[in-house]
Amino acid sequence: MKLTVWTYEGPPHVGAMRVATGMTDLHYVLHAPQGDTYADLLFTMIERRDHRPPVTYTTFQARDLGADTANLFKQAAQDAYDRFKPQAIIVGASCTAELIQDDPGGMAETMGLPVPTIPLELPSYQRKENFGADETFFQIVKTLAKPMERTKQVTANLIGPTALGFRHRDDIQEVTALLSDMGISVNVVAPMTSSPADIARMGAAHFNVLMYPETAESAARWMERDLDQPYTKTVPIGVGATRDFVNEVATITGKDAYLDTSRLRLPWYSKSVDSTYLTGKRVFLFGDGTHVLAAARIAQDEMGFEVVGMGCYNREMARPVRTKAKDMGIEATITDDYLEVERVIEALQPEMILGTQMERHIGKRLGIPCAVISAPVHVQDFPARYSPQMGIEGANVIFDTWVHPLVMGLEEHLLHMFREDFEFHDAAGPSHHGGHAPAASGSGGPAPRPADSPRSFSSKMNEGSVVWLADAEQELKKIPFFVRGKARRNTEIFATERGVDEISVDTLYEAKAHFAR
């Protein structure tokens, strides 16, 4: 039993739903109690989908448990087929149905439905959402895709995009353009946008572009082995990775490596004079493995940040993330415990967080700016505008997204020079973030409920025996809020190392000189 406040990933059947909802003409019959239908709103509200996810829930109730939940399942499956006439059906159980052991897969097979019926084994008490998506897509591909004659021209399948994916919609367009510039067309994009009939013709492509290892690595490996299709290992997020991707595709296909950089602005923006204020900013990275690995490279090589910590919530990606962290001389945090991530961030006191919506909350509480780089998704992660992460435009988007939460160059200097200004208080965020009125409770949200003071679970850092003298404490308050945490921590470390148990104004400035870069 594990106490959980927030989760980075949903249960595995939600991963299966992401695959099914991204596809067309596929239906998912899910043995589940009524409450599990909440998952529909993830798609219709967060992603603003205009169709219900293609999922039929059996919605059994307590009174059914003593009776016949198996028949209920068969009836639901038959009704779903009759009503939706899908090209293929996937069947499975959610966490509760797994406990009653009705074997939906076995039952569906005996029903003799006239379309392929694909059973899913998704252990709810061991695995999570990404596994569910990866396994579901793998089972669909394994059942439907067959070796076949290749297309005459060089073509690729783009694999990995799903419903409710972080910018998947726009990444598809960007990668399609990258390939098109090299004279390679797309055979099938899957699971998002494809039907079971499309999956059946995936074997015609010359290779696969594995866009998101989280959701399609098992399928990519199977197709490499059984359909003889190589797959790309580089995820084209960032300038360097996009160049490497183009080279990798050239190697696989024998085509010339070609990259149209006419719209690429990140390199010049990073080299422009005002970007010196980005140099050496201490950042902490957290998210899914793929996006964190890409962000680490961009942060270090393309923005000039100092990566002080990184990690991912999906254990499947622990190995590459640990390796990358080791290369950078830091330790990786592999956990799905949000409180642990919070503790790490508190201890590291980065100047910026590149994380998920969870870390955005942590940043808010600790007064550290945060840009979102990864799922789990929020309604804000589905912007109306074109906003990819991959390819040339993705690099441009990332530059803007990461710089946006920061205090701009000259503004930072002004804050240093006029730190006594009454408007430069802790609650005043960067000036381009709109008014600094007290956060209004939005209408429609849980506003009318009495607000209490948010209490943090996390225990305060042990301040040990070091005492701040009043004038030093006063001086500390004059330091701009966005570096104050670091100054406090550095000063305390400095004092502890020297056996100083009282921090005076002099100690503060001695520490500043000691840590000066």
């Binding site: 998952a39 219900r52 406990l99």
Partner: protein
């Protein structure tokens, strides 16, 4: 007292046969109630004993992601817990110890059962008893089920409040108990009106804190402020308290009838009742009239969601001039919503439970001007050109009593006003709008 409600001439809906279908339901489970209960009870923590799905539901339902540290969490069952039940109780003790050390401010802990914990028959009542002894007197531990195999959405609040009733101290004092978790501002208005009529003492369940002087007994009379509190109603009756049946306090008429029922019980003079209610009644009528302009003559279709459907249909048809096509509720308790059914004119289909696909067929055929439904259905229906009102907003917004009556009507008129305001659909060559149904982003997927 005051003038009697105009009963529908053709008769109300109390005896209307109820359409019951069995099929897929599209509703939240009772765990969802935790989202507002944990804000209402400021020293309570809700610990769900369940799966990753439960944790995911709570954070998804909580406005997608919430901005303050919540006073709820999930003890996620793992393979090892499922293997042997003896473990699960020990594991739960560990989790609770850990939690209470971290949160010494917690005075009430609710162990909340879920689908998986019900299926494996994890005895949370036993656990709560053991923990109450262990952590007494600083923490009281109670348990209830919010599982989706037993409860629907607002039934979670009912189960929670019902779990508190047996442990309330006994009192013989003559008192009024208001039952239901309301936003503070609304609760204060109700108490203000009743006190102005000289009614008291007034207590509220749930109280904001555990150490309140809440008690119950044979001289307690209680009024429900929410129509979904069937189990709580029964639990209070078992403690000897007596229910004051009334229409629910939505709209001017509902609020007046609700207050009148209590005033009658306490023998309030008609003049005093008039004096206290005249001004707010006039304000409520005026506010409703503004929003009702857009609603008058419009048809409405309710999918089952919060159990507020019947009282709301009564309000919208009688005070806003709407026509109800179907009023679906997850569960209909006639002992509680009977007075509202009496006032709801015969005509609409009254349905309980659902087969969502069949109900969607009926809604699409009826083409209502406004459809009240859950979040999973709203955007898909909007994309088909049906204006919708998300039902969950009705339990997350102050909508009770006189001063909110206009806001309540406004919740329904806004989607209709929006449809008039937006000029987004393509204009055909003859200058007329040529539809625009199905204009959603995924409408033309390859």
């Amino acid at each position: 007292m005051t003038e009697l409600p105009r009963l529908p001439t053709a008769g109300g809906c109390r005896e209307t046969p109820i359409l019951k279908q069995r099929g897929q339901r599209e509703v939240f489970c009772g765990l969802t109630g935790i989202i507002w209960l944990h804000r209402k009870m400021q020293d309570a923590f809700f610990l769900v004993i369940g799966s990753r799905t439960c944790a995911h539901l709570l954070q998804s339902a909580a406005g997608v992601m919430i901005f303050a540290e919540p006073r709820f969490g999930t003890a996620i069952l793992e393979e090892t817990d499922l293997a042997g039940l003896a473990d699960a109780q020990d594991e739960l003790d560990k989790v609770v110890d850990e939690l209470l050390i971290r949160r010494p401010d917690i005075k009430q802990l609710f162990l909340v059962g879920s689908c998986p914990s019900e299926v494996i028959k994890l005895d949370l009542a036993k656990a709560a008893e053991r923990m109450t002894q262990r952590h007494a007197p600083s923490v009281r531990v109670l348990n209830f089920s919010g599982s989706g195999i037993e409860t629907t959405f607002t039934q979670g609040e009912d189960a929670c409040l019902a779990s508190m009733v047996p442990v309330l101290p006994k009192t013989d004092e003559r008192q009024l108990l208001l039952v239901g978790a309301l936003p503070d501002v609304v609760e204060e208005q109700a108490i203000g009106l009743l006190e102005a009529m000289g009614i008291g003492p007034i207590k509220v369940l749930p109280a904001p804190r555990a150490n309140s002087d809440l008690a119950v007994g044979p001289n307690t009379v209680y009024a429900l402020t929410q129509p979904f509190l069937g189990d709580t109603h029964d639990a209070l009756t078992r403690r000897g308290a007596r229910h004051i049946p009334a229409p629910f306090p939505f709209g001017e008429e509902g609020t007046t009838q609700w207050l009148a029922a209590i005033a009658t019980e306490f023998g309030v003079a008609p003049e005093l009742f008039e004096q206290v209610t005249t001004a707010p009644r006039a304000r409520a009528r005026k506010a409703i009239a503004q929003a009702a302009e857009a609603l008058n003559g419009m048809s409405i279709f309710f999918f089952p969601d919060s159990q507020l459907e019947i009282p709301l249909a009564r309000f919208l048809t009688r005070e806003c001039g709407m026509e109800a096509i179907e009023v679906g509720a997850p569960f209909i308790h006639k002992g509680i919503v009977g007075p509202d059914l009496d006032l709801l004119a015969e005509g609409p289909t009254i349905s309980e439970g659902q087969d969502v696909d069949l109900q969607l067929d009926r809604a699409k055929a009826a083409k209502p001007d406004l459809t009240v439904c859950g979040l999973g259905l709203a955007n898909p229906l909007e994309a088909e050109g049906l204006a919708t009102k998300w039902a969950i907003e009705l339990v997350f917004t102050p909508v009770h009593f006189y001063e909110q009556a206009g806001d309540l009507a406004g919740l329904f008129s806004r989607p209709i006003r929006r449809a008039d305001l937006l000029k987004l659909d393509p204009v055909s060559s003859d200058g007329k709008y040529d539809g625009g149904v199905g204009a959603g982003p995924h409408a033309q997927q390859p």
